[in-house]
């Protein structure tokens, strides 16, 4: 006899657990199937940026709503998740970059969003005195910040379980079939049945999608992060750059985390991601260009995690195209961490009310119908 519930969620990362928390609060009996453990891949090993700054326009309303949850994240998951509103800043190194930033800030303003602020060189130097002198200005979001990804994942995990959600670990999905109006999901050990299926399987999301007839061109990638030895505190906000791949953050213990999109090699078949020296070299070169004083500082640790990248680098969020009673949220393309509190809420609304309170049309899975699948 299969285990029966109201909803089966495939993927126990942040989006799956957030969805489970919202569904459980709405009174639905929910099971989460996780092939490893929560936080094994993108949810646990990302840079922890809580960032509205620089979001794709379609993501902005979701991101703005998500920050409101982050500001009281303890109310949501009973833990501060290491969140600190240390600010996020995106620097411009040339007048041309600054002009583009000005246009971006203006565009957001016409859409009714004022969280991104353009600042000049003097203001930038005040916020990041250690930055190389050639930088001319920045976009500044002082309310943004950063949190601890693994701690966040664990808080979501604990909260989901305390609300009665059953999270099955080591439960890789083997196949999904229809059983009347229900979905029947077989894992390596057990069988589960429910009328509603949610796919939050991250870099494996397209595989789960295919099992129910939806195709989406996901490219598994392996964003890399490096951590330095401890150095004297010299920067407070999380720093990115308009013209470079960079996400730069100093922690309270003095270590500096360097990420921002340099990629290693994802090997989803072996469930691992390898670092690549050229990418680490590029990150180091970027750091030296912006903070020359860090040249002698040692990198003590690097890692990479498997993440799903979509061709248009925004996620799939919404109902299945091929089948009734199925929903997707995957392919966050390296910036899903901040969105996790809100995506679960929107999926819960879709499931319980049939509609989302925020616009999600841009994330429909059928937007790739004319795109060659990879």
């Amino acid at each position: 006899m299969p285990d029966t519930s109201d909803v089966i969620i495939v993927g126990g990362g942040l989006h799956g657990l957030s969805t489970a928390i919202h569904l459980a609060k709405a009174g639905l009996n929910t099971v989460v199937l996780e092939k490893d453990h929560p936080g094994r891949h993108a949810s646990g090993v990302n840079a922890g940026g809580v960032r509205r700054l620089g979001r794709h326009l379609a993501e902005v309303p979701l991101s703005v709503a998500a920050l409101e949850v982050w500001e009281n994240i303890d109310d949501f998951v009973g833990d501060d998740c290491g969140f600190s509103a240390c600010g996020q800043i995106q620097i411009a190194e040339t007048e041309a970059e600054l002009a583009q930033q000005a246009a971006r800030v203006e565009e957001l303003r016409t859409l009714g969003f004022e969280h991104e602020r353009l600042i000049d060189q003097a203001a930038l130097r005040q916020i990041v005195p250690a930055l190389a002198r050639h930088c001319v200005g920045a976009i500044w979001c002082p309310e943004d910040g950063a949190a601890n990804p693994y701690r966040t994942t664990q808080a979501y995990f604990r909260t989901a379980r305390s609300l009665g959600v059953r999270v099955e670990l080591g439960a890789a999905v083997a196949n999904i079939e229809r059983a009347g109006a229900d979905w029947q999901v077989r894992t390596v050990r057990d069988s589960f049945q429910a009328p509603v299926l949610v796919n939050t399987a991250g870099a494996w999301g397209h595989r789960v999608g295919r099992m129910i007839g939806d195709d989406a061109p996901v490219e598994p990638a392996a964003p890399m992060l490096m951590i330095t030895e401890r150095v004297e505190p010299f920067i407070t906000p999380v720093l990115g750059a308009a013209g470079r791949k960079l996400s730069f953050k100093q922690y309270g213990n003095g270590t500096v985390m360097i990420g921002g999109g340099q990629r290693g090699r994802a090997v989803p078949e072996r469930n691992i991601a390898e670092t690549k020296l050229a990418g680490m070299g590029n990150s180091a070169a970027t750091v030296k260009a912006l903070f020359p004083q860090l040249g002698p500082v040692n990198v003590v640790r690097c890692w990479a995690g498997i993440e799903a990248i979509m061709p248009d680098v925004i996620p799939v969020i919404g109902p299945s195209k091929a089948a009734a009673g199925a929903y997707h949220a995957f392919g966050f393309s390296g910036h899903g961490f901040q969105l996790s509190p809100i995506v679960g809420r929107l999926l819960c609304e879709l499931i319980t009310e049939g509609k989302s309170s925020l616009p999600i049309e841009a994330f429909a899975i059928d937007r790739f119908d004319n795109v060659q699948s990879s």
């Binding site: 936080g39 070299g281 040249g295 002698p296 003590v300």
Partner: protein, 453 residues
């Protein structure tokens, strides 16, 4: 052919490869050849060689006797990444460099097993290996009262070496449980086949008796006490409390393979339940699942210097064989000698199997020194649902410091496995990624490349 590590295995591998005309590069972190066991052998004077003893002096035979243009020895080179296609990246005084080899032999040796007793992080507490390193180069002898504690052949050897040099040894405190001797006795025939080792062991014991430091056996519940600095070692023997004042406490609990490179290469590892450590999987000639990469010496499983040298020979012969040389006779000869040398291992492994002290330390004992994580902290995380060491690392930070878990990896896994009552294989080992050693931004930036389109 590139060899990483200039201890007995690496030095012999290079010498053998040169006999077949294979061009070699030998890289080692130290300024001179010798590895840990023969550290500084080329520069040690007669007086120091006499203190260190005849086994140390044997290392001289491994040094090259003449200049050889086909042999490139690169000392002071800290290798921090190797790739499956033969790339080797390293730092030395003038910055970072890279080289490519058709064949790589990893001869990275052993590291000391940490012995996390309460108070082991106090100033004045070191490992016996560190004490011996200072003795070999720069020839430093400890001042004041010294206590040596733990288990393993190095403890006896260092006690004898210090004794010869006139160091004031307040006590030799052995933790080896008597039960180990009974387990080891079953493997006595193997020890008897390796006559040289048996003779060395007996000679050491006689020498220690003559030198006469207080000798405690089967000691339990070791604690280093002191406020700013270690003041004494406390322990019990047969229920009786002892407190031995000391200025320097040297701890030792045997050695384990250094698996940082083989782990970062994602090679398979097997658990050794007697020695309680992981061993990278390798076959004849040190072959691994990476076709151009071989292992030799203690890095592939603790075998001791003489057997390590034979493994270095066999690995280099295998490379020569792949290049079309006729090596079958030489391989058979070295293989026979190796199996004779290895015959004593089952006895030694059982006798010096690590004791409960270092596998299950009290709650307030620091396990990960870089991030100051205690055994109790690990048990708390286990109680909160951590199922493997990588979850534990993400949540509690053990293994996240500059040493990347080289020091604490085994202890963290032992403590977690015991708290969960799971076999150690189930809690796994830290996932390690390159670089294996700290590398500066300057050095990393030398490997920047134009980005992919």
């Amino acid at each position: 052919m590139a060899v990483i590590g200039a201890g007995p295995a690496g030095l012999v591998a290079v010498a053998v490869a040169r006999q077949y005309g294979i061009e070699t590069a030998l890289l080692d972190e130290q300024p001179r050849a010798g590895g840990q066991i023969y550290r500084n052998i080329g520069a040690a004077d007669e007086a120091m060689t006499a203190i260190l003893g005849p086994e140390y002096a044997q290392g001289r035979d491994l040094l090259p006797s003449r200049d050889d243009p086909g042999r490139h020895d690169i000392f002071g080179a800290s290798v921090w990444q190797i790739t499956r296609d033969g790339g080797i990246y390293y730092s030395h005084e003038s910055g970072a460099s890279a080289l490519t080899a058709e064949h790589i032999i990893l001869a990275t040796g052993a590291i000391e097993r940490p012995m996390p007793i309460p108070g082991w992080t106090l100033p004045g507490v070191m490992t016996a290996g560190a004490g011996q390193t200072l003795l070999k180069n720069p020839g430093l002898l400890p001042q004041g009262k010294v206590v040596l504690a733990g288990s393993g052949p190095l403890l006896w050897l260092l006690a004898a070496q210090y004794g010869r040099a006139g160091v004031d040894i307040a006590a030799l405190v052995e933790t080896t449980p008597r039960a180990n001797l009974h387990r080891a006795a079953l493997k006595l025939p193997g020890l008897l086949r390796e006559g040289e080792l048996l003779r060395q062991g007996r000679a050491l014991r006689r020498e220690l008796k003559r030198l006469g430091p207080r000798h405690f056996k089967d000691a339990r519940g070791l604690r280093a006490v002191g406020e700013e600095h270690v003041r004494a070692l406390c322990f019990t023997v047969g229920g009786q409390e002892h407190e031995i004042p000391c200025d320097l406490l040297l701890l030792h609990m045997g050695v384990t393979p250094n698996v940082q490179f083989t782990r970062a290469l994602d090679l398979p590892h097997d658990w050794d339940d007697v020695q309680r450590c992981w061993r990278p999987r390798s076959g004849p000639g040190g072959a691994t699942e990476i076709s151009n990469l071989r292992l030799a010496g203690d890095g592939a499983g603790i075998v001791g210097a003489r057997a390590a040298a034979l493994q270095g020979r066999l690995a280099a012969l295998a490379v020569a064989g792949e290049m079309g040389e006729a090596v079958a006779n030489a391989v058979a000869e070295a293989g026979n000698e190796l199996s004779r040398r290895l015959a004593a291992r089952p006895f030694l492994d059982r006798l010096f199997a690590p004791g409960a002290e270092c596998l299950d330390p009290p709650d307030d004992t620091i396990v990960c020194r870089c991030e100051e994580v205690t055994a109790g902290g690990i048990r708390d995380l286990a109680a909160r649902g951590c199922r493997d060491v990588n979850q534990l690392k993400a949540l509690g930070r053990p293994g996240m410091g500059p040493c990347q878990g080289r020091m604490c990896g085994l202890t963290v896994a032992e403590v977690l496995a015991r708290s969960l009552n799971l076999p150690i294989e189930d809690v796994d080992y830290f996932r390690l990624r390159w670089p294996a050693k700290p590398v500066s931004m300057h050095e990393l930036a030398m490997f920047a490349e134009a980005e992919d389109a």
